[in-house]
Symmetry: C2
């Protein structure tokens, strides 16, 4: 089934205890597409300024990512993020955020993308997420991500978005913040009451969970001994999750479980190097090998 | 196989967001024995003062716990702990600790217990743990627990203990503290270098992991929607872990995985009520039913 993603493209500067990566490529839609492209063709929608130093066609060379939805907006500046991680690197600290082109109107979804069936609305302002979704004809399976600043400042818009999606993916802290409940099993129930039939809660190194009316699944994180840069792990998780589901054309819980396992191992590859370095160096066989390892490490 | 436990018996006062439980029965050996007795007979070794208000024979009535190793020491006072939990209740705050009889010489292991094959040294001063272990003839499988205050203050003695045991069970924070490493997979490797062939790291609601030379197993926590009092969860985890292994008389990794799953679900029952209230109200069928649920919730 066709898979469309819309989200950010960024110029990232990241500092971790293991080093620094300056002005490297980042952004939710980029990490997502890299991960999803292991499984299925990706339709990419995003916007950069005319200052963007990256050639996305080169970034995705040899991968099945259709950049027809990439807008280079004259006179605008590309989104920039400077962040750092300390200690166990479970939390990103935003040192500097320049929304730039992301604070303007959303990019246009090209005509040939409007029949997309699987859609991922990567983290951005919930109003933009809704506006992008409204450009599509009849999406069958819509998944969205969000983050703390929208939960804080755009609660009503976010709740409006939640009524329009099938699955919400968010992290542990965001789930607790949005529901004001510290028990994740209860928080998942509360989130489902707001609209999405399924909720995926990511817990970093501690894994993730999937909750639905008759479904509850938990999976530990893949134990990576060399964590260099956690940036993009969540977007790569979503990319593999959606890429796998679109590739099999299924959305029932059984397939979502496998999709979460693929998300987990793909994210584990991203964090082993700065920016895209580790994920862009491997093939699907490495991902499949980790999936088999994860299965072996969790069976009892 | 015979199972011996030695650890504390306490008078606990616990405050959680769900209420308060004053002067109730607690202590590592008590929670351990309650959990282990679902699986196998337990040989109990511990000491109380003559002020202890609890009749342990009544506490364990109808359960297979042999109290021949319970010493009531005249003129001494029973161990007391006052603690509280806040927020997600993942950390106990010790408000008051009176070691009392635990700061004196250890109890004597009765002659008829000295041939015990499976031994659990519940958390206490590592010197006491070694002295208790030395009273046994030829234990086959020795597992020990520890906690932050001994890691801090008795590092050398603790390291001496680690050379004498087969499995170390400890929690995430303790593993990081003892190894000065924030990556749990690496911390587990470091801990094994200190002696134990296997290490079990407990992560509270986030589950647990087992690491050995050719073994790596991870299991999420059981999703309990009603957490009232986490006290004793770790000891009950260890009790079910050891109780199951002693009942099957096996210690290879495959059985340790099942033992960890039993530990997980038994601990989930303990935290649903204050003190022993919930765990003492259920039968083995409830534990087995949760094990089946946990298996279903983690398969992919």
């Amino acid at each position: 089934m066709s898979l469309l993603v819309t989200g950010s493209i960024g110029i990232d500067t990241v500092v971790t205890p293991f080093g620094k990566s300056e002005n490297c490529i980042g952004g939710s839609a980029v990490y997502f597409s890299m991960a999803a492209s292991f499984f299925t063709p990706v339709r990419f929608v995003g916007v950069i300024g005319d200052d963007c130093p990256f050639d996305l066609a080169k970034v995705f060379a040899g991968r099945n990512v259709d950049l027809a939805g990439l807008e280079v907006r004259g006179g605008s500046k590309t989104f920039r993020w400077k962040g750092s991680y300390q200690g166990d690197m479970s939390q990103a600290i935003t040192d500097c955020l320049e929304l730039n082109v992301l604070s303007e109107h959303p990019p246009v979804v090209p005509e040939q993308f409007r029949d997309s069936e699987f859609v991922f609305l990567a983290n951005t302002h919930p109003t933009l997420q809704i506006q992008l979704l409204e450009q599509l004809k009849s999406p069958k399976f819509v998944v969205a991500d969000t983050m703390n600043c929208w939960i804080d400042r755009q609660t009503d818009e976010l709740k409006r978005l939640l009524g329009k999606i099938n699955v919400l993916i968010l992290n542990e802290g965001e789930a607790k913040m949005l529901t004001k409940n510290d028990n994740l099993a209860v928080a998942a129930d509360e989130l489902r009451k707001l609209g999405p039939k399924f909720v995926v809660i990511k817990k970093g190194a501690d894994g993730s969970m999937l909750a639905g009316e008759n479904e509850f699944f938990m999976l530990p994180g893949f134990p990576t001994k060399e964590v260099k840069d956690p940036t993009g792990a969540g977007d790569a998780f979503a990319g593999a999750f959606m890429g796998y589901l679109a590739s099999v054309g299924k959305t029932d819980a059984k397939f979502m479980r496998t999709a979460i396992a693929y998300g987990t191992v793909t994210a584990s590859l991203v964090i082993e190097g700065f920016s895209m370095s580790s994920i862009s160096a491997v093939g699907k066989t490495v991902i499949d090998a980790r999936l088999a390892q994860l299965r072996k490490m969790t069976e009892f």
